[in-house]
Symmetry: C2
Subunit: 203 residues, 2 copies
């Protein structure tokens, strides 16, 4: 008997990119199912006194993170580009529009592909995921209908869900992304992906 793993992710989170690209393969190997749970880091960082990513608040941590991402993506065979645009908004990006779509898209068979497409657009292709063009591209190449899913994401059934997910994350002590939960057990960081899945497999 295995338990499902809940994968708490944020599109603006660099290390969530690694997990988004790895988790389904690693989960399948262990016969574990994954529930993708989009949430926003903004309110969680604000509660810690930060008005942006800790990688921007603490420059040495930020410099380290970009180098670490280069090494990790190479290790995992994933494409990666540091944001190079001369734009202070290049990181962290505004992920809210893409996350709102994710809530609805993840009820569709193409939802996970859409999420991966958003990560690839941002961290491999250096595109701005807050724009309708990029979001639309990511939906279409996943096999979805942009107009239909946009309309769906506005329904009362989906619209409040992103905020509810974020409040749930905060309530269970999540302080960063990616995070993974197996029952009451919390794991933080792409470094704990395998541990979380092993925990679920042995539950």
């Amino acid at each position: 008997m295995t338990q499902p793993v809940t994968f708490w992710f944020e599109f603006a989170s660099t290390y969530s990119y690694l997990s988004a690209m790895r988790i389904e393969h690693e989960a399948a190997r262990r016969n574990v199912s994954v529930v993708w749970k989009p949430f926003t880091l903004g309110p969680i960082f604000a509660a810690q006194g930060w008005n942006t990513s800790p990688f921007s608040v603490y420059p040495s941590k930020g410099r380290y993170m970009w180098r670490d991402m280069e090494r990790r993506t190479r290790k995992y065979g994933l494409p990666f580009q540091r944001p190079t645009r001369d734009d202070p908004r290049a990181f962290p990006q505004n992920s809210i529009p893409a996350l709102r779509i994710a809530v609805a898209a993840l009820t569709e068979p193409w939802g996970i592909t859409y999420c991966r497409n958003i990560y690839t657009a941002q961290f491999a292709d250096n595109r701005d995921i807050s724009t309708p063009e990029v979001i639309t591209d990511c939906i279409i190449s996943a096999g979805g209908d942009p107009d239909a899913i946009l309309a769906q994401s506005q329904l009362p059934e989906f619209k409040p869900q992103l905020r509810a997910n974020t409040e749930a994350a905060q309530a269970i002590g999540i302080f960063g992304a990616p995070s993974f939960t197996v029952g009451e057990e919390l794991f933080w960081g792409d470094d704990r992906l395998e541990d979380a899945l092993d925990w679920a497999a042995e539950a």
Copy 2:
């Protein structure tokens, strides 16, 4: 050809305990040599605006860390006790006296054992490593002479070294412990121990 790895550690750091107990074995497997470099996190955290450990500044991160340490020590087969004393000073402990001794002790053949003994005293036996009794015990059980090493640690050759190490750490962008360097390459966290050693082995 392999390069040496420099292991930057702080006795007050929980995750440094994991690395201190693992690094020699993992390094030997790769034919990599390790330079143990004690430093203090106080000035580095102060530069980030914290007057104590981030695990105390950010309670949800702290709660997570203790649970994570329980799981990790179990995984690695290491003894572990959460600090239980009703003492707000239980974490982080004052590590300075033990670190000053470490600078001198690491020039002796028993120095690494002394360092491990300090970690074990603190995180397995829940003892206060700022006390002369505990430090003395750790020196003796490593095979050292407490009076001799204490005198040696006061010499001009050793006394300024702890501060110099900390300044060097800060200068190269170290922001937490454990950290590992291989040439100019920086790795942070016990999670990157294997990556740092692999990097050194392939250099």
